[in-house]
Structures are given as structure tokens and as C-alpha cells.
């Protein structure tokens, strides 16, 4: 063993990087001793229940609250115009998305509701039950207006314009052309085309949206306990629209019961709750119930995409072209905007392949349904379904094996740096290594043989592959340049306490993915202490450095790097003090397992407790000029790329019952490349959870509206989500290409599972049904849709 000091912190003795260690914060959750917003009770706390529009589009003629006001426990019943006196409206646009428009949106509708579920009045009472009882007694007189529900027709001249002042129902349009597209299509041996639909989904976090707003009039302070992924963003928005000083707003998020992008936005009813607390000068709690979650939590993924692929007979892909249309509800959601998903689809289609020509257009339109916005793996599963659907279509038509066509067309692993056709740079991807690993994990050839064997007995099994690229570690190109005050940098403050414990406060947040564990692992490694000696603080704007929070797979890559740099700096500061105490040169010392040692020999010199004791309690014994700095903050922002792209590939093996239309998932594989792996178990579980969300989208999940804009399956009974019984075992593999944009080298892993799973399932179903000459392209692939495709039932029975 070399006695030289370790070159990188990965090689440090007792490094926690790359080790599976149990999450320190899991124990309390396992005992039911977490603190979710609804678990918090404050003195004089009240409960708010919202009266919501039953219509997709309707004018409010009048609100009669006389009877409701008399109900027991009622404190206040507040309408839109009344609340507008304490909270200003907002418009969800970003300046870098050229042409994006939206209308001012209020916390409570003023004179018109624009979707079923929009809140028009707030009932505040002593208890939730009393508020619910009173809300039922509020009588709203409506005048129903024509509703825009069909996104294809939204721009037709005969379709009413939802916000007349905007001129039309077009929120955003983007066109992109790279390379000689027409020439490529003209020169190709074959052009194949198909229309794909992805279903309107919602996140269905098990913990509903929740906020407890506590305005403290004596200090003019607002404390919001909120289930959110982005506390500092919420702080900014509450201050701005309630006309408070930002530093007088404190956002605390303790435990959060799932978020997936659902809780990275601010919702009108949440704004209203904060405004009510200011108005009533006492705490107000709002917990969405499941029915209102379905009609008001953001939806996503409602796209129709016409796709074309140009290929040569040998399977060489020459060009992709897409024409995308999506509808986002009546408003672009504030502050992240609802155009990001379509934008992302344009950015990602064709992403893994080395073709040279690409044309994309997308139109984002308004409609009278619930709003859509960023939900896990924004745009990825849509883009992946189109790309991988077209690639498989070409393979099928040309008689080329799906694995082989990918091998011929995926960007070579030695081609980086590489600029994708949407103009975005890829630092270093590993498509071929991932493909090889996946095929080996699956025993692809073995599965093909089994499939052929079973086919002879009338069993229809299919194998589907789906490659993808994934957006992680975003720079300020995501929101900052568009004018949104959403931080792309994050900070970590680490301090050494007298007992040798280190406390890390980080701007990234924990929703169960294991942020606190990986921050602890990184900090412990960087400082040189054991994990038992680390505490992590997240989710409190008064206590953590300003940061973006957790979204777009930035927690490990951005927050982790900040923790690493802070930890290293603290270590240097500790060693400087130790050197003075030991009269040694700092570079001859190291910290291992919480003890200062001789770097060469590992001989123990001073435990951190002893340094803590001297520094905090007997500083008189230290040299005069020595000022120990045992609190260190470092920030990190990724500046090298708009996003650090990662990649991966998924495989699905399933069986289609052609009599019932049921799909049985037999097994699922995912190989991805998230760069440096900090905790293998946490990464694998992120991937698995993501895969299952993708599988839900492929097979079950769908927000179905009727032609009057009524959500007809807005309950957990009707909106199906994956349960354990239908889910397969999921095998996860990794290829590791660390990003050079940070010392840690970590990229994100949060989107990978969801990005590729629906496409893999679609391709597997179509592979299974290939002998029957049937293919499906509209998600979700329900038994009914499969039987319809097979001609076993007739359409039109609705």
C-alpha cells in the first residue's frame, strides 16, 4: 500500500462513495414518526376547504354564503375578489421561450372558472369536517360557457378563445430544423410514419399536496410548512405575491410523501392558503383530498405526435421528423411554465442516434381542462416513445432485429463530445456499452429463443427495447435565463461541533430518494468522519443555504458537489488547527474516522472531539493569531453545459393474452449511466420506482375527460396505478461515465426509469402481436385497446 496521501477523495480510506449504506432518516419513517405537513398542529390552527367549479368553463354569477356562514365552526368564507386584496395574480411565462403567452391567474377565480376543479371560494373553519360541511352549503350561481376540450381543434377559427385578450388559444410554438431534412427523406430507401399518443397522466403522490401557513402578525412573518421540492422558490413566490419581505417568509418542509414534480410548482389553492393566513392572522391548513388532487394536481404527457423516420435498407437512420401537439389547460403554470414539456420533446426526439437531419414542430394550446406541467422525466417518455417506436417500426419493416438496428445507429461511445441535433452538447454517453450490458443481463438471445418456442403453442410474448438520453444537472439555462427566480446553484454549509459531529445544511431537499443519506456519505468522506457523526438539515429556508431544491435530477450532481467542496474545505480548516496544536505541517496530517492521523503512517494523533474541546472551550491555549473556522459554506453551479446528459436503455419482456387483451409484465431491465454512483442501492431503487411510474403510464394511467371537460375517472378506484401484483421484478445495471463538469462526477438518475419504460413496453407489445399484424401506438395500452386492435371487440361502445 502506498503511503502517499490519497489523490482523490474517492480513494480516501473509509470512503463512503459507492457504498450501500442504509439511509439514516429511514428509521423514523419506519416507525411512523416522520413529520408530514398534515401531522403538524399549531395553536389556533384553522382548516380551509375550497369550493371548486363543477364546470370546465363557467361564469360566476353570484356566490351565496349566507347559510354556510351560519354553520358551526365557520370562521370565514372568502371569495376571489376579496382574496385578491391581499395577493396579486401571476402570469406563467419565461422570456427565453419566445412567444410563450398566458393570462393572469388568481389564487381564487375572480369572475370565471376555466377548468373543472378551479377554486372559487375558500371556507375556513375550526375543523376540517366543519369546513367541509360548510363548503357544501355555499351556493354558486353559474353560467356555463362553451368549453375547449379537444386539443386538435383548439386553434380552429370556430373554437372559442379561452382568454380573448390573448387573441387565440396558442400558448407556444417551436420549430426546429437541423441538417438537410427534405434531402434526407428524399434520398432514403424508405420512409415510415406513425402517429403516437401519450395519455394525460398525473403524479398521484401518496401524500396529497399540503400546506400549513402560519402568519405571525406581530413580526410580519409568514411561516409555511409545505410539502414542496423547492422551498426557496416558494419563499420567493409567497413574498412577492403577498407583498412581504422575502426574509420574512420561512418555508419549512419536513417529510414529503412523494413529489415527482407534482410538488415543484405553486398552486393557486396553496397561494390562497397563505393569503388566508395573512388575512385571518392565524394558521391555516390545507390538505388536498384525493378527489381534488385528481382535478388540480398538475397533469402531464398529453401529446399527439406524428412521427416520420427515413432509413436505408440496411437500417441506417437518416432523419427523424415530428409534428407534436399538446394541450396544457387554461393557464401556463407558474413559475416553471407548461411549455417546457413540449420543448423537451423537441430536444429529445432522436437523441440517442447519429442521424444528421431532424425537423420538429410543436404546438402548445390552451384548453378547459386541468393544467399540465412538469412531471417526472419531463418530455422524456413522450420523446422516447416516438423515437423508439419509429426505430422499431423501421426494424420490423426491414426485417432487422431491434437490438441490431440500435447497434448500427446509436452514437458510438468514442464519438464524444458530440452535439445532438437539437443543438445540445453531449459530454460523454455510453449507449453501446449500455446496450451490450442490457442484452447480457436479459439473456436477449435466450429470450428470443424462448419467445419463438412459446409462439408455437400460441403464447404471445414480446421483447421491447428503448434507448434514451436523460437531462440532469441543469444549469441556469433551464429557468434562470428565462427570468424565473429558481436557483440553479446550491450550497452546503458544514460545521464541526465540539463533539466531533458535523452538521450539513443543504439547499437540496429530501422526498424519500435518499438526499440526506448521500449528502451524509459525501460529507463524511470529504471531512474524514464516520457517518454516525453526520447530521443533515434540509428543507428550511431559514437554516439552509439558498438553493434550487430537488428537480431535474440535480440533487446528487449539484447538491452533492457543493457538499463535497464544503467538506473538503472544512477538512483543511480542521487540519490547520490540528497542525498548530501538534506543531506539525498540515500536509503531513489527515483526518480518518474522526481522528487526525499522520498521513504517512495512519498513526492516530488527535480525535476531533479533542480539537473541538480546545477550540470551543479552551481557545486560550491556541496560538494567538489562529482563528479556527469550523463553519464552511461552498456553492456549486453546473456551468459547462445547459444540462449534463446521461443515457440508458430499458428492456421489457411481457405476454399478451389475445383473448382478454391483458398484458402480463414478466420482467423488466434497465441499464443506465449516472456517472459516479454514490449509493448503489439508492440509485437502483430510484430507477425501479421510476420504471414503475413509466409502466403505469404505459398500461394503466390516464386522466379521461368527457367532451364537456369533466374528468370521469378522478378517483383512485378509477384512475389505475401500478400495484405490487401487476409489477415485475426489475433488474438494474449500470455503466459509469462520470461527468468532468464536477469533481464528484455524479449525474442524475431520477428520470431514467420513467423515461424509457413506456417505450419498452409499447415495443414489447407490438413485438408480441407481430404475427397477428397488429401494432398499437396510443398509450395506455389497455385490454380494451388491445382487443380493439385485434378486432375482437367493436369500437363505439362508450
Amino acid at each position: 500500500m502506498s503511503s502517499a496521501p490519497p489523490v482523490s477523495f474517492f480513494d480516501r480510506p473509509n470512503s463512503y462513495i459507492g457504498r450501500t449504506v442504509p439511509r439514516p432518516n429511514a428509521k423514523k419513517l419506519l416507525q411512523g414518526r416522520g413529520t408530514y405537513v398534515d401531522d403538524i398542529t399549531l395553536p389556533r390552527m384553522t382548516h380551509v376547504v375550497f369550493v371548486r367549479s363543477p364546470h370546465a368553463h363557467a361564469k360566476i354569477i353570484g356566490i351565496d354564503r349566507a347559510a354556510a356562514q351560519e354553520m358551526p365552526g365557520v370562521i370565514a368564507i372568502v371569495t376571489g375578489p376579496e382574496l385578491a386584496k391581499v395577493i396579486t395574480p401571476w402570469v406563467g411565462v419565461l422570456t427565453h421561450m419566445k412567444g410563450l403567452k398566458s393570462a393572469p391567474q388568481h389564487a381564487l377565480a375572480i369572475d370565471r372558472a376555466c377548468w373543472q376543479g378551479e377554486a372559487v371560494a375558500a371556507v375556513v373553519a375550526e375543523t376540517r369536517a366543519e369546513a367541509e360541511d360548510a363548503a357544501e352549503m355555499v351556493v354558486v350561481e353559474w353560467e356555463e360557457l362553451p368549453a375547449v376540450v379537444d386539443m386538435e381543434a383548439a386553434l380552429d377559427a370556430s373554437t372559442p378563445v379561452i382568454h380573448p385578450e390573448l387573441g387565440d388559444n396558442l400558448a407556444f410554438r417551436r420549430e426546429l430544423v437541423t441538417g438537410e431534412v427534405d434531402a434526407a427523406f428524399a434520398a432514403a430507401d424508405h420512409v415510415f410514419e406513425e402517429v403516437y399518443h401519450t395519455g394525460r397522466h398525473t403524479g398521484v403522490c401518496l401524500e396529497p399536496r399540503a400546506v400549513l401557513a402560519d402568519y405571525q402578525p406581530a413580526e410580519g412573518k409568514l411561516v409555511a410548512y409545505q410539502a414542496t421540492q423547492a422551498p426557496h422558490m416558494i419563499q420567493n413566490l409567497l413574498a412577492k405575491h403577498l407583498n412581504l419581505t422575502e426574509s420574512d417568509v420561512r418555508v419549512i418542509c419536513k417529510d414529503v410523501g412523494g413529489s415527482f414534480g407534482i410538488k415543484v410548482h405553486i398552486y393557486p389553492d396553496e397561494m390562497a392558503t397563505a393569503a388566508l393566513s395573512v388575512l385571518l392572522r392565524r394558521p391555516v391548513k390545507f390538505i388536498a383530498d384525493r378527489l381534488e388532487s385528481f382535478v388540480t394536481d398538475i397533469h402531464a404527457r398529453d401529446h399527439r405526435i406524428k412521427g416520420r423516420i427515413a432509413v436505408n435498407t440496411d437500417g441506417e437512420i437518416l432523419a427523424f421528423e415530428i409534428d407534436d401537439r399538446t394541450a396544457i389547460g387554461p393557464y401556463s403554470v407558474y413559475p416553471r411554465t407548461s411549455a417546457v414539456e413540449a420543448n423537451q420533446v423537441v430536444n429529445l426526439v432522436g437523441g440517442p442516434y447519429k442521424h444528421k437531419a431532424y425537423r420538429a414542430s410543436t404546438e402548445v394550446v390552451f384548453q378547459n381542462k386541468n393544467v399540465t406541467c412538469q412531471y417526472r422525466a419531463v418530455g422524456h417518455p413522450v420523446a422516447c416513445a416516438v423515437t423508439e417506436g419509429l426505430v422499431d417500426l423501421a426494424a420490423r419493416k426491414l426485417g432487422i432485429d431491434p437490438a441490431e438496428i440500435r447497434r448500427r445507429n446509436l452514437i458510438p461511445d468514442d464519438a464524444y463530445p458530440y452535439t445532438g441535433l437539437a443543438g445540445l452538447p453531449y459530454e460523454s454517453l455510453s449507449h453501446h456499452a449500455s446496450l451490450d450490458k442490457l442484452l447480457a443481463l436479459m439473456d436477449y438471445d435466450g429470450l428470443r429463443a424462448e419467445q419463438a418456442e412459446l409462439r408455437k403453442c400460441g403464447v404471445y410474448r414480446g421483447i421491447g427495447l428503448a434507448s434514451f438520453i436523460e437531462v440532469t444537472n441543469p444549469s441556469s439555462a433551464f429557468y434562470g435565463i428565462g427570468g424565473a427566480r429558481i436557483s440553479s446553484q446550491d450550497g452546503c454549509t458544514i460545521r464541526l461541533d465540539p463533539t466531533g459531529t458535523i452538521i450539513c445544511a443543504t439547499g437540496v431537499t429530501e422526498q424519500g430518494q435518499g438526499t440526506e443519506a448521500i449528502i451524509a456519505q459525501i460529507a463524511a468522506t470529504a471531512v474524514g468522519v464516520t457517518m454516525e457523526k453526520v447530521r443533515v438539515i434540509t428543507g428550511d429556508t431559514d437554516a439552509t443555504p439558498y438553493g434550487g431544491g430537488t428537480w431535474a435530477s440535480r440533487g446528487a450532481g449539484i447538491g452533492g458537489e457543493a457538499a463535497l467542496q464544503a467538506g473538503k474545505a472544512l477538512r483543511q480548516n480542521i487540519l490547520a488547527v490540528a497542525a498548530a496544536m501538534l506543531q506539525a505541517a498540515p500536509e503531513t496530517l489527515d483526518i480518518r474516522n474522526g481522528t487526525v492521523v499522520d498521513a504517512d503512517t495512519g498513526n492516530e494523533r488527535l480525535p476531533l472531539e479533542e480539537i473541538g474541546r480546545v477550540v470551543y472551550f479552551r481557545p486560550d491555549t491556541l496560538p494567538k493569531g489562529l482563528q479556527p473556522e469550523f463553519v464552511v459554506t461552498r456553492h456549486y453551479v453546473q456551468k459547462d453545459y445547459p444540462f449534463v446528459f446521461t443515457n440508458g436503455i430499458q428492456g421489457s419482456y411481457l405476454e399478451v393474452d389475445t383473448e382478454t387483451g391483458f398484458v402480463t409484465l414478466l420482467k423488466h431491465w434497465c441499464v443506465e449511466d449516472c456517472g459516479t454512483i454514490i449509493n448503489p442501492q439508492l440509485v437502483d431503487e430510484q430507477i425501479r420506482g421510476g420504471v414503475v411510474q413509466g409502466l403505469g403510464g404505459a398500461l394503466f394511467e390516464h386522466c379521461i375527460y368527457d367532451d364537456r371537460g369533466q374528468l370521469v375517472n378522478g378517483s383512485m378506484i378509477d384512475y389505475l396505478v401500478p400495484m405490487a401484483g401487476e409489477m415485475p421484478d426489475i433488474i438494474v445495471g449500470h455503466v459509469v461515465s462520470p461527468t468532468a463538469s464536477s469533481e464528484l462526477g455524479a449525474k442524475g438518475a431520477g428520470e431514467a426509469g420513467t423515461a424509457g419504460a413506456p417505450a419498452a413496453v409499447m415495443n414489447a407489445i407490438n413485438d408480441a402481436l407481430r404475427p397477428l399484424n397488429v401494432s398499437l401506438t396510443a398509450q395506455p395500452f389497455t385490454p380494451e385497446s388491445i382487443l380493439l386492435a385485434l378486432g375482437k371487440v367493436q369500437a363505439g361502445r362508450k
Binding site: 419513517l29 411512523g32 401518496l206 405490487a724
Partner: protein, 164 residues
């Protein structure tokens, strides 16, 4: 509002309380007794987040009224934790990271506890079937199945070991 007196044993403690006829057991536990470990995910019996044990059987707290618990013995995650009854399950969940946000976890554990008691020989597929009424949005279920399978295995070995 109609009120009733109930006698109930919650986590081993005898209680006498006056409850309104329409109050659900879950609201009674959470709001009246501050036992916030049991969660509400749907309030209509689908997600399993509110699962607790009533007389040793897994029950949905959102589908049962507090008055119906009169004379019963109710165990919530807090009680099951403190008594040590599910310590092996909790350890296995921890080791396998069979939880992420933890919101489903108390209900999942109550259901899993019933399974390991009643079906000691359950295989992976039976485990999946048994927990199929408990929704987890975060984990993908795989790790939960792993954790429960480990406990079943260990309990079988322990039983076999002492019997042999």
C-alpha cells in the same frame, strides 16, 4: 352531531372516549390521539396508507368508524414499533431500502405483518398479491418484496431451527 362513548385499547392502552358517530377510525387516531403514523392517501379504501391492525387483522382505518372500534384492540405503527412485534420487518425494510418517502410504509408494514403471521410460506408472487392493496408510488415494490421475503425466510429458519 350524534356522540357515542367507546372503550378501546389502542397500542395496549385502555381508553374511554366520546366520539362523533361519523368519525372515521383513522381521524380518531390521528386527530384525537395524535397517532400520526397512520396516513391518509385516498380516504376511500383504495391505497392502504391508513392500514392498521384491529384485533390483529389488517384493516383500513378510513373505512371503519371510530364507534365500530368499541371493545376492540387497535394497534398502530407506533404501538407495533414500541412492542417490538415487527422489529424484524422494520430492519429488513431498512436494509433493503424498501421505503422512500415513507408515506405508505406504516400501512405497508401493517399489511406485511399480517402476511408473515398468516402465510409463513408465501413465495414472491404471494407476497406481491398480499400487498396488492397497498399503493406505493416511490419504490417500484421490488425492494418491499425482497424485504418481506427475507423476513419470511428468517422466521422459517428460526422456527425450523428450534424444531429440528
Amino acid at each position: 352531531m350524534e356522540q357515542h362513548d367507546i372503550n378501546v385499547i389502542v397500542n395496549g392502552q385502555k381508553l374511554r372516549r366520546r366520539v362523533s358517530a361519523r368519525q372515521h377510525l383513522i381521524d380518531f387516531l390521528r386527530n384525537e390521539l395524535s397517532l400520526t403514523g397512520s396516513h391518509l392517501g385516498c380516504e376511500h379504501g383504495v391505497c392502504g396508507a391508513c392500514t392498521i391492525q384491529v384485533n390483529g387483522t389488517a384493516v383500513r382505518g378510513c373505512l371503519m368508524l371510530a364507534v365500530q372500534a368499541d371493545g376492540a384492540s387497535v394497534d398502530t405503527i407506533e404501538g407495533l414499533s414500541d412492542s417490538g412485534a415487527i422489529a424484524d420487518l422494520q430492519d429488513a425494510f431498512h436494509k433493503h431500502n424498501a421505503l422512500q418517502c415513507g408515506f405508505c410504509t406504516p400501512g405497508m408494514l401493517a399489511t406485511a405483518a399480517e402476511l408473515v403471521e398468516q402465510h409463513p410460506n408465501a413465495d414472491r408472487e404471494e407476497i406481491r398479491a398480499h400487498i396488492s392493496g397497498n399503493y406505493c408510488r416511490c419504490t417500484g415494490y421490488h425492494a418491499i418484496v425482497d424485504a418481506i421475503a427475507t423476513v419470511l425466510d428468517a422466521r422459517r429458519k428460526a422456527a425450523g431451527g428450534s424444531g429440528a
